[in-house]
Symmetry: C2
Subunit: 202 residues, 2 copies
Amino acid sequence: MTGPQTAPDPSRRNEQSRAAILTAAAELVAELGFGKLTIEKIAARAGVGKQTIYRWWPSKGAVVFDAFLAASENPSGSLTLPDTGDLGEDLRTVLRLTALELADPAFDRTGRALTAEVLTDPALLRDYRERLLDPLLTVTRERLRTAREAGQLRADADLDLAVELLYGPLYYRWLHGLGPLDPGYADQVVAAVLGALGPTRD
Amino acid sequence: MTGPQTAPDPSRRNEQSRAAILTAAAELVAELGFGKLTIEKIAARAGVGKQTIYRWWPSKGAVVFDAFLAASENPSGSLTLPDTGDLGEDLRTVLRLTALELADPAFDRTGRALTAEVLTDPALLRDYRERLLDPLLTVTRERLRTAREAGQLRADADLDLAVELLYGPLYYRWLHGLGPLDPGYADQVVAAVLGALGPTRD
DNA sequence: CGGTCGAGACGAGACGGTTCGTCTCGCTGA
DNA sequence: TCAGCGAGACGAACCGTCTCGTCTCGACCG
């Protein structure tokens, strides 16, 4: 479904070319921004024929997305959240790290370009969900489930809602440039979510 | 700063052309989507020279953004939130309406395209903040302030945080297609925010 | 075994098509 | 009279497709 109609043979793929293309794409998107980036420039920088890019990727967005993934993907392949037993502490750790990443100017340009592409290309959005977002949300939800069973969240707390209450505001503030993305803000969000979904104080 | 370097004289501007351009842009972005939309097509549909578009707008995104604004701007010019005295009820009303709009397929395409443009063009983001987002956030914050003074929120509730807790999750869910944007979800978000920042139950 | 051969990915770049943004044209209206 | 107007010519940039000749690799055969 995702592959081309006349499928090329992945086993014959040239790994050097693939790596060179992703590296070139990552460099160029940082230098030029996504809008001024072209397939031809990627090919030239990578020392690669255009067709080699068109053969393996359906769009410019897909190339940049893969480059981003290759750079950010955990080599160990496993994505985990800390579990010290204290939900608040663990969430603060995660959200502080997230805020730190979003606040990094180097990440900002690439991240915004990628977000814009992902939001307007349904196929890319599916990829993004499957390979990055859903794993993160799942892992977060599982941590919350553990906490709920330990009585650190209400028994009827909606975990999907909780996850969106955690990440939504950060994301909203980041994309719109509404305010500083610092550890204090991360702590505020965590405190609010715990206040809303934590055990009732009776 | 926003204007061209050799400023044209706004007083000599042709209002018919301006309106025709915005109408054509709105129609075409709905028909073709933002990506396949071109300045030349807008000019042709509007019966206008390309230069007339380039003279008054810096980018394709800016034209579409203006078209969107012209169509959605409240004619009375005033943006207000309901104030029945019951904060929960008022917030549910607003968030339900917001969710309804985001869930509208007709809005979805245009909204995503516009969001993508706004996020990657700092000048457009500034425009968006000034003309749409900040007024909405301000009006929401003022409603929350009233409620706080009436004792419906904690005395130390951070209103900036509150606003982002309200809109952030909706926005997050919408952009990523995480789940249904229905009145029930709006109610859940409001309940969570009131749970977090409402008066302590002592 | 070791040599031959065909398939398919590769680098390079020509190609026609599209859109870009700039630049003239006269024309028109304040 | 003068700046904005519709129209469209213009060169530049990229698009995505295609066609070269090269190379690598597995299959097959002597």
